[in-house]
């Protein structure tokens, strides 16, 4: 399948929103499997990178969104748990931190599953699920043999994806929050899970910085739209598309505002452009996020 066609299809799906959540997910998985052997993110420059205005969602919208977040939580849970269980991968000093990540993510799986059931929905389960949230058979984190972090004990590579995946989850939560504005309890739970995934993202970035092999020398926050390497072309750029936004805006018409954060007064002038981008985690639309994890799912 031609990559450009795939991109077009995903974009069409996003704009038309013709497919149900699960139908779209299935299609994306199929797309993903055909992509896996190729370099992943050739796709992505053409994918939507900014959120369209979200409005408070119906029950089924909330169920669909929570199922999508649940899919992401299973994804990162399995990634980090595989990492913790791979002997010789991580230094002993880093293990407790990543084990905490695993525990929190399991909590998110349970919380989201219960919330979906409470709303009358059916919680997502990974492929090959067998009464155990740890189901590595559902995932191919090598993306078809390209990224061998678990097989060659490549900690630097593991940290690349730890950062990428957790940043992606944080951006997915940012995008999802508006759907829950009609339900105070769920909105609050979403914020609570979101903030913990953001802590994980920041921690992964800091571990990666101190491990010392990251050319981009990441900070705990996302600078501009910098990806995990500093030299383009970069196959992971797509995960950070839109993160260089500096315009923060809301509302429409008379009740609206817009501010270029890079023009805000700092110490001795305006604040640096980098800080203006770092201070906000930008939303990434669901279809884009799903396309970005699709190469790592077993079809």
């Amino acid at each position: 399948m031609d990559l450009k066609n795939i991109v077009q299809k995903i974009n069409q799906m996003e704009s038309a929103t013709q497919l149900s959540g699960s139908g779209r997910r299935d299609l994306l998985k199929k797309l993903g499997s055909s992509l896996a052997a190729a370099a992943i993110p050739a796709i992505i420059t053409a994918l939507p990178e900014t959120a369209t205005a979200q409005t408070s969602g119906s029950n089924s919208d909330m169920i669909n969104t929570m199922n999508y977040l649940l899919e992401l939580e299973y994804f990162v849970y399995n990634y980090f748990r595989t990492g913790c269980q791979t002997g010789g991968l991580m230094p002993a000093a880093d293990l407790p931190g990543f084990q905490a990540v695993v525990n929190h993510d399991l909590g998110h799986i349970n919380t989201l599953s219960a919330a979906i059931t409470n709303l009358g929905g059916t919680p997502y389960l990974p492929k090959y699920y067998d009464n155990n949230p740890f189901c590595p058979a559902a995932y191919d984190f090598t993306a078809g043999g390209v990224y061998m972090m678990f097989y060659s004990a490549n900690y630097g590579l593991f940290l690349n994806f730890a950062q990428i995946f957790k940043d992606l989850v944080a951006r997915a939560y940012v995008n999802s929050a508006p759907i829950f504005t009609g339900n105070a309890a769920l909105l609050t739970q979403l914020m609570q899970m979101h903030s913990v995934d953001s802590r994980h993202a920041a921690h992964s970035r800091l571990v990666r910085r101190y491990f010392g092999q990251a050319a981009d020398n990441p900070k705990p926050w996302i600078t501009n739209n910098n990806s995990v390497a500093s030299t383009p072309p970069n196959e992971f750029e797509a995960y950070y598309n839109g993160e260089n936004n500096t315009i923060q805006a809301a509302g429409t018409g008379a009740v609206s505002f817009s501010l270029d954060i890079s023009q805000v007064t700092g110490i001795g002038g305006t604040i640096p452009l980098s800080a203006a981008t770092e201070a906000f985690d930008e939303p990434l639309p669901q279809a884009t996020v799903q396309a970005l994890i699709a190469p790592f799912l077993v079809s």
């Binding site: 880093d94 913990v196 509302g251 800080a275």
Partner: protein
């Protein structure tokens, strides 16, 4: 000069000073944070009676009694009325001198934005001071990071301040006067301990504030900032004690971070501020 005059004179002008006494009483009660419905009602009744029957406090400065009546229940209205009355400013001044002085934050979404604006002002001031006081040396990659990250933390908080100012426009509270004497900025542990507590409270404050907004247009921005405040919390925690970015004091067994109510959060940040804020009208849960 007003201050020495204020308590001496108006009370001796009975009955002309009666409305001011009611206003003063109401003001004191509202701002002591010990709102007594009974006393407030009594004051309002007293004002109503005076408005309708004896003295029209707005009359001499052109404030109509209808306007005064409409605004009875809001402190802003109160300030408008009081400000318009010759001599009433004296009482306010006298009042500011007392321990019960407090600054009104507005109601509803405005008060929530002011609330987050206060939190970010405290943190901006804190990180400005932390960055300016080099407790760290710049030898070694970790310490160099710390230097850079403190600057980032400062600049991020300034970014939030600028944003909230823009969103609030004329409804923004005055910039707060900080009191950071409880922090020993020359001491790394002291600085990072305070940073940790502040960031945990700030992250919890954003999580808790989301549900309280009436206008949902604010939610995307709240979510964007909440996400990065959580990153800040991770950093200062890990800098102080590696691996404690999400320990069980801030993340529960279900992996949920804290979601805190404004009336819980304000007293904490209040300890870093000279000004006292009246958060009684800020939505809480």
């Amino acid at each position: 000069m007003y201050r020495s005059y204020a308590f001496g004179c108006p009370f001796s002008l009975y009955p002309q000073s009666l409305p001011y006494i009611f206003l003063l009483l109401k003001h004191l009660v509202l701002n002591c944070g010990k709102l007594s419905a009974f006393v407030e009602r009594y004051c309002i009744k007293g004002m109503k009676f005076l408005n309708n029957n004896i003295i029209k406090p707005g009359a001499e400065s052109g404030v109509s009694s209808e306007a005064a009546g409409e605004n009875r229940h809001s402190r802003r209205g109160f300030l408008q009325i009081a400000g318009g009355v010759t001599g009433a400013g004296l009482l306010l001044d006298a009042c500011r001198k007392g321990a019960s002085t407090s600054v009104y934050m507005g109601t509803g979404d405005v008060s929530l934005l002011n609330y987050l604006y206060i939190i970010n002002q405290v943190q901006a001031g804190f990180y400005t001071q932390a960055f300016a006081t080099a407790y760290y040396d710049t030898n070694g990659a970790t310490r160099l990071s710390e230097y850079q990250f403190l600057q980032d933390l400062r600049d991020h908080q300034l970014a939030y301040m600028g944003l909230f100012q823009a969103m609030l426009g004329t409804s923004a509270i005055e910039k707060v006067q900080l009191q950071l004497s409880q922090v020993t900025f020359a001491d790394r542990t002291s600085t990072l301990s305070h940073a940790t507590t502040m960031q945990d409270w700030a992250a919890g404050a954003y999580n808790g504030a989301a549900r309280l907004f009436k206008n949902t247009m604010y939610i995307p921005i709240i979510a964007k900032i909440a996400s990065v405040e959580a990153r800040h919390a991770e950093y200062v925690r890990d800098a102080l004690n590696w691996g404690t970015f999400g320990d069980d004091t801030v993340v529960d067994v279900n992996g949920l971070g804290q979601a805190l109510s404004p009336n819980t959060v304000m007293p904490f940040f209040q300890t870093y501020i000279q000004t006292t804020f009246d958060y009684s009208q800020v939505p809480s849960f």
